[in-house]
């Protein structure tokens, strides 16, 4: 059985938002392989979002099952075989829906957290 290792780190990303991060990253940069996605998230967040890098891969599998991303094997600049992920049409739709949901919730939280 899958054993869940729940680790609470200071810079953990909120649960559930990893998919959104991946989708958005792919929408911004087109085709990427796993390492590139991890690096991109890391840099874009100014090294704040410390993803447990490996957890990217189960998340990518979930996106594959949903049909939001597609994967194809290609070659890296360093001439290594790598699996490249790209957004599908359905993924684009999901990203839009996810973003609007996120902004709504985020806006609400921000409003509540306004200093008095």
């Amino acid at each position: 059985m899958a054993v869940r290792s729940i680790s609470v780190k200071p810079n953990d990303i909120p649960p559930g938002s990893l998919s959104l991060l991946i989708l958005n990253t792919l929408s911004r940069h087109g085709e990427m392989h796993g390492y590139e996605i991890a690096e991109s998230i890391l840099h874009t967040s100014g090294d704040v979002l410390q993803v447990e890098e490996g957890s990217l891969y189960p998340a990518l599998q979930r996106l594959l099952v949903q049909g939001w991303v597609s994967a194809e094997w290609g070659t890296t600049a360093g001439n290594r075989r790598a699996r490249y992920y790209r957004l599908t049409a359905a993924g684009r739709k999901q990203l839009a829906a996810g973003l609007s949901h996120f902004h709504r919730i985020y806006g609400a939280i921000t409003a509540v957290l306004q200093p008095a």
């Binding site: 490996g54 957890s55 949903q66 790598a82 699996r83």
Partner: protein
């Protein structure tokens, strides 16, 4: 949908999935490592840092896999493999379990397939629920009785069809369609072909479409003799015509008429009577062209047909019945030749036409077999229950033995649900394998059963479809899964309820032992009581069968050969002097043959149907409720059958077509119907109601009573008339013989053919075979219930043995102590036995109560004994004890042989 496809494709490319994931992760780690090295870490540090940041590789891989939602499958596969392994670890137990399951499920499936084919299945026609028959369709023949509500004349049908407003279409079929000899194309030999005479609306009413060509229309059936056409059955096309594609160019000739085949009925279609599958259908308008030359097409009172119709939508049974009854009176009374005297009118007034649904066809076989089949279904269900109890008991025993394993697994964090699921998976595997074996067993059993139902190895198979089909497989799967849950759930729940610490401390005496014993004992009592019910039933049926085989038939059963022939192929009427002469010539020549002691013709030999009417005995009150069975016989018949003459004389050459008509009566006719003390010899009576001189006959003899239709019947009133005075196209010659059946049979056939080459002989059998076949039902029930009862008792014995062995093994320690303290072997044996004897006795007591409560169910299937007879109960008790006690004794004896030292050391 697409998601499902993706998931499935992932499942099938499992190894590539793993390899891809592996490669992708490796790349990630390596790139990170390079990056760390570039950032200034040592290679070793870089490697560790990359790993740390990546996380637990194995867990991530598992979670990636879990994303695809196949976890349940994986754990199912695990459970299955684990289950198979643990089954293989105790092969003896597994074999017993599988065998009892296979027999239990197989027997249920086999009996159900017959129940389905004969009782439950709807006709293979369009919307069978709309079809109804006038009357109950449960009578066949011809009657001129007024007020007949099951048999109707063809003219009645024609009028009903045009006048009614409740049926969208109406059809009719001759009720007694039998076999006839006919010629296919221009072949040399005639073949036995079974034609059904039907109205032109027959197929359209049933709503079936032809496989080839066309079916009848009303036009084929409007002018008598005008349309010599036939629709053949699919099976006949495939066998007799070997599926010839040009089937429409073929013909079938009956008597002088050649019928053109115009179409083939769809596969599986047989009409409306289950168990009667005609080879072909012929329009009613051609009835006179068949060899039997039926004359009823235009006769208003030749009431010989069944009428059925398709209800218009929205018309209820009650509405239809009301309208049909109005029409019934109107049409019958409106016939110009209706004899509306007081007597006939009173019968007509009392007549009420009931309307019966024929969604599942007309009775036919159902009449004969539905009760036995339902009974056997119940019996097999009980056997399956016993098998389930057994397996539950075995699994309980095993799960107790596995208590330690479960405790370990629970201690290691396995969830209870997971353990229950594991155990249920195991019982499901057991049940599924048992179910598969059971279906294989059922397929074989179906063939044997069909043989048995059809009346033995030399009988023609009854044409019913008992092959595996969807409802049947559904039924098997349902009982399989049902049994798995039944025998798996309790042990599973019980086993998973282990108290971890206790069980770990001591695998041999876990805390649930006491409850487990109670449950095991309850199962044993249930098994014994069910076995007892079945044992009583089988003893009853066996004794009933024995009673039947000892019934006094009125004639010696053995040594009589019955030669069935078809004299209608000669194209002569029964009254033709050449026919009469031919029959007496055959009789004279056969009786003179070596090895033959008597030969005689009869219109009806045992179990062959009857011709019955009332009679009028002058000087007594006429009673039309008394039906007399008439038999037309040749002079040698009584001698052949050895039916004793009690008074007067038998027929002789002096009884000719022109001499005074004579009759011989059976003894109970004389005793019951004649005024007491009157000598019947020389008295004149009338066959039928009217004192018409044409029906006048003189009584010349009295013979002993005989069984006529079946063995169970009460005394029958039978009389006999000589063939020349009541010509009958005979079908059966009885020959009393000694010596080898085959030799004599061949000689007799040669002799018959030397007299008339054209006479076709259908089959030769013996009287005792016919008698045996007449009690097929009882034989079937007796044999099968005995088989199942033995099986039940055997399974219970296994259960008892299992429980005993278990008890003994649990008490080895105690036994050792007792024996060390000086207990005698015998008393130790008895101590163990006492418990089981108590269980068996309570089982028998419970079973006895059940038997008394349910005995009415079997009453109708018994002959010559009551279900409550003590002898049967005693026999069943003895049989059960004889098997159950040794099963218990073996482990008990082993217990008493235990060496105290060994027993104590073992603990």
């Amino acid at each position: 949908m697409r998601q499902l496809l993706r998931r499935l494709s992932m499942l099938f490319h499992r190894s590539r999935f793993n390899a891809d994931l592996e490669e992708e992760m490796r790349l990630h780690l390596e790139l990170r490592e390079q990056q760390q090295v570039a950032a200034g870490l040592s290679p070793g540090q870089a490697h560790r840092e990359a790993r740390r940041r990546f996380g637990n590789n194995a867990v991530l891989r598992e979670r990636s896999f879990a994303a695809w939602g196949w976890n349940w499958l994986e754990s199912f596969v695990q459970d299955t493999l684990y289950g198979l392994r643990s089954m293989l670890r105790s092969p003896g137990l597994t074999c017993v379990a599988l065998l009892s399951l296979a027999l239990g499920i197989g027997a249920n499936t086999a009996i159900f397939s017959f129940l389905d084919a004969i009782v439950l299945r709807s006709l293979p026609v369009k919307a069978p629920g709309q079809l109804v028959i006038l009357g109950d369709g449960d009578e066949d023949g011809v009657t001129d009785r007024y007020g007949s509500t099951t048999l109707y004349s063809y003219p009645f049908f024609s009028q009903l069809r045009s006048k009614n407003a409740v049926f969208s279409e109406v059809a009719t079929v001759l009720s007694f369609n039998g076999e006839a000899h006919g010629t296919i194309d221009h072949r040399d030999q005639m073949e036995i072909i079974s034609p059904d005479l039907v109205s032109g609306t027959f197929f359209s009413t049933l709503g079936v479409e032809p496989a080839v060509g066309r079916l009848f229309t009303a036009d084929d059936d409007t002018t008598e003799g005008a349309h010599p056409v036939a629709v053949i059955s699919y099976a006949f096309w495939q066998t007799a015509l070997t599926g010839a594609p040009d089937v429409l160019n073929h013909t079938v000739k009956f008597a002088d008429t050649t019928f053109t085949i115009i179409g083939v009925a769809p596969p599986g279609f047989f009409g409306i009577t289950v168990g009667h599958a005609p080879d072909l259908w012929i329009p009613m308008a051609m009835m006179n062209s068949l060899p039997a030359h039926y004359n009823g097409y235009k006769d208003n009172f030749y009431q010989s047909n069944h009428i059925f119709g398709r209800l218009k939508s929205g018309v209820t049974h009650a509405q239809a019945e009301a309208e049909i009854n109005v029409l019934y009176q109107q049409i019958t009374r409106g016939f110009p030749d209706a004899r509306l005297n007081d007597y006939n009118l009173s019968h007509l007034q009392q007549a009420h036409v009931a309307i019966t649904s024929i969604a599942t066809g007309t009775a036919g076989l159902r009449h004969q077999f539905s009760d036995p089949l339902k009974l056997l279904m119940g019996v097999t269900a009980l056997v399956l229950l016993i098998a389930c109890a057994n397996i539950a008991n075995l699994l309980l025993a095993r799960s107790t033995a596995r208590a330690r394993e479960f405790a370990v697994r629970q201690a290691l964090g396995a969830q209870r649900l997971r353990l229950v699921r594991q155990l249920l998976t195991e019982s499901l595997i057991l049940a599924l394998i048992g179910g598969l074996l059971g279906i294989a067993f059922a397929v074989a059993a179906d063939r044997i059963l069909l043989r048995m139902i059809s009346g033995g190895p030399d009988a023609d198979l009854i044409p019913i479809d008992v092959s595996l089909n969807l409802p049947l497989l559904g039924f098997s799967v349902a009982i399989t899964v049902g049994t798995a849950v039944l025998f798996g759930l309790v042990p599973a729940l019980r086993a998973s309820q282990v108290e971890v610490t206790g069980a770990l401390k001591d695998g041999r005496s876990s805390t649930n032992a006491a409850t487990r014993n109670v449950l095991g004992k309850v199962l044993i009592v249930a098994q014994v009581s069910i076995s007892f019910v079945l044992a009583v039933a089988s003893v009853l049926f066996l004794r009933s069968l024995v009673n039947l085989t000892h019934v006094d038939t009125g004639f010696p059963r053995n040594g009589v050969m019955l030669v069935n022939m078809d004299s209608s192929v000669l194209g002569l009427k029964g009254a033709d002097p050449r026919m009469i002469a031919m029959f007496s010539q055959i009789e004279d020549r056969v009786v003179a043959m070596p090895g033959v002691h008597g030969a005689g013709f009869a219109a009806f030999t045992f179990h062959q149907g009857s011709w019955n009417t009332s009679i009028n005995i002058p000087g007594t009150a006429y009673n039309d409720a008394v039906n007399i069975k008439h038999n037309v016989i040749s002079n040698g018949y009584f001698n052949t059958m050895q039916i004793p003459l009690l008074a007067g004389r038998i027929f002789g050459p002096q009884d000719t077509a022109t001499s005074q008509k004579v009759i011989i009566l059976s003894e109970s006719m004389v005793r019951d119907l004649f005024p007491a003390g009157v000598n019947p010899i020389g008295r004149h009576i009338y066959i039928g109601k009217d004192p018409d001189p044409r029906n006048d006959v003189e009584v010349v003899g009295v013979v002993k009573d005989v069984k006529f239709g079946n063995l169970q019947e009460h005394r029958q009133y039978i009389d006999y008339v000589p063939n020349p005075q009541h010509p009958w196209g005979y079908g059966t010659l009885a020959v009393r013989y000694t010596g080898d059946f085959n030799t004599v049979s061949k000689d007799v056939q040669n002799t018959i053919h030397s007299i008339n080459r054209g006479l076709t002989i259908n089959r030769v059998t013996t009287l005792d075979r016919v008698i045996e076949r007449s009690i097929t039902n009882q034989t079937l029930v007796a044999q099968l219930s005995t088989f199942f009862a033995l099986l039940a008792v055997f399974l219970s014995a296994i259960g008892i043995y299992g429980l005993m062995s278990y008890l003994v093994s649990r008490r080895t320690n105690e036994i050792g102590i007792r024996m060390a303290l000086g207990a005698a072997r015998a008393s130790v044996g008895w101590m163990i036995m006492r418990e089981i004897v108590l269980l068996v006795v309570s089982g028998i007591a419970l079973g006895g109560a059940l038997t008394l409560a349910t005995n009415q169910l079997v009453q109708s299937l018994l002959y010559g004994l009551k279900p409550t007879e003590p002898l049967s109960l005693v026999l069943a008790i003895v049989a059960l004890l004889a098997i159950a006690l040794p099963a218990a004794w073996l482990p008990a004896r082993r217990a008493s042989r235990v060496s105290p030292m060994e027993a104590l050391r073992y603990e």
